[in-house]
Amino acid sequence: MNIIIVGGGMKVHFLAKSLISKGYSITIINEDPEYCKLLSRKHKAANVVLGDGSRPQILEDAGVECTNAVIAVTPHDPDNLVICQLASKRYGVPKVFGIVNDPNNISVFKSLGVETIISTADIISSLIEQRVLTDEIIDLVPIEGGKVALMEIEMHPEYPAVGKAMMELGFPEGAIVGVIMRNGDVIIPFGKTRIQEKDRLVILYVPGVQTEVFEALSGSKNLNHKKNAQPVKEGKR
């Protein structure tokens, strides 16, 4: 499988390293001659093309016509947009990935026909935010680019949800308890299943209802728990 990466910096270096080790054939496009020299010294297996990756001829030099995927990771969103659009519209590359530096551009890229968008700022900030605000969340996995998320929450004795049945929780639409883990047993809950303390709930939810889920379980909007010495400030969401 051939993959073209457009961009620079450590991101490209490590991306190339990991893809080469998995046996992919990599071509990197970058505008900076010094960086290109460095890349070709470091990655003997990769092809390096010097030039502006948003120009059709440079993409052609890099073999865009017979490549399986193009990844645009420049720090400039308009460049990434044009690279992705050229690759998919003009050259019919089957898989095109674009990095978005400004998270607001996710919807812009989607409206303009770029389907697979990676917003590093968004992913990192949402992960940090959720971890900082909530100690009780044990694991958190975004699914389908963050449209759905999966989290695991441990039930503390003082949570109002303890002792309630699933049907009494008042969960919002868009959230569901998939599994309860209790003393190493796995329970698939139904409406009458009651929550006990120390249960670990695995919840699937759409991001918009996260606060409501917290409220239904703990009685407060964020899970700031008594063991925190200082109250957690209401973060910007």
Partner: protein, 145 residues
């Protein structure tokens, strides 16, 4: 000359952007000009009667501040082709602006939006065409790269 376009947004206050802004002002059009760099607005003289917004024209917030949803014409003339392509597509696809013009130094990228109703001005092609006329020899068959 009469035309129905009254509200213009210009992105990029370089030589072309600032001249266009002044010329449109003389025709009593409403104009908002956007540039990342505040110093660029020094090119605008007293005969410019519109508004200037300092900001990045690819940011939706900046375009909304310029009220792109009620613009008749959006002209993307920043120094960067890809930025112009992105702004033109945002204006056309997301905000349905009736008339959208982008300046591209390198016209080959314009084929990204060839199925959209966006007009492209390419200084190289225009100069070639002028030059062809001057020496009465058609040089236009080959696309400049």
């Amino acid at each position: 000359m009469k035309n129905g376009y009254n509200y213009f947004i210009l992105v990029g206050c370089g030589d072309l952007g600032s001249h266009l802004a002044k010329a449109l002002s003389r025709h009593r059009k409403s104009i908002v000009i956007i540039d990342k760099n505040e110093a660029a607005f020094n090119k605008l003289t007293a005969d410019f009667s519109g508004f200037a917004i300092e900001g990045d024209g690819v940011e939706e917030d900046v375009l909304l501040e310029a009220e792109i949803n009620r613009a008749d014409v959006v002209i993307a003339v920043t120094g960067d082709d890809n930025t112009n392509i992105m702004i033109a597509q945002i204006a056309k696809v997301i905000y349905n602006v009736p008339k959208v013009v982008a300046r591209l130094y390198e016209p080959s990228r314009g084929l990204i939006y060839e199925d959209l109703d966006i007009e492209t001005i390419c200084p190289t092609v225009l100069s070639m065409s002028e030059f062809s006329d001057m020496i009465a020899l058609d040089l236009r068959q080959e696309h400049p790269q």
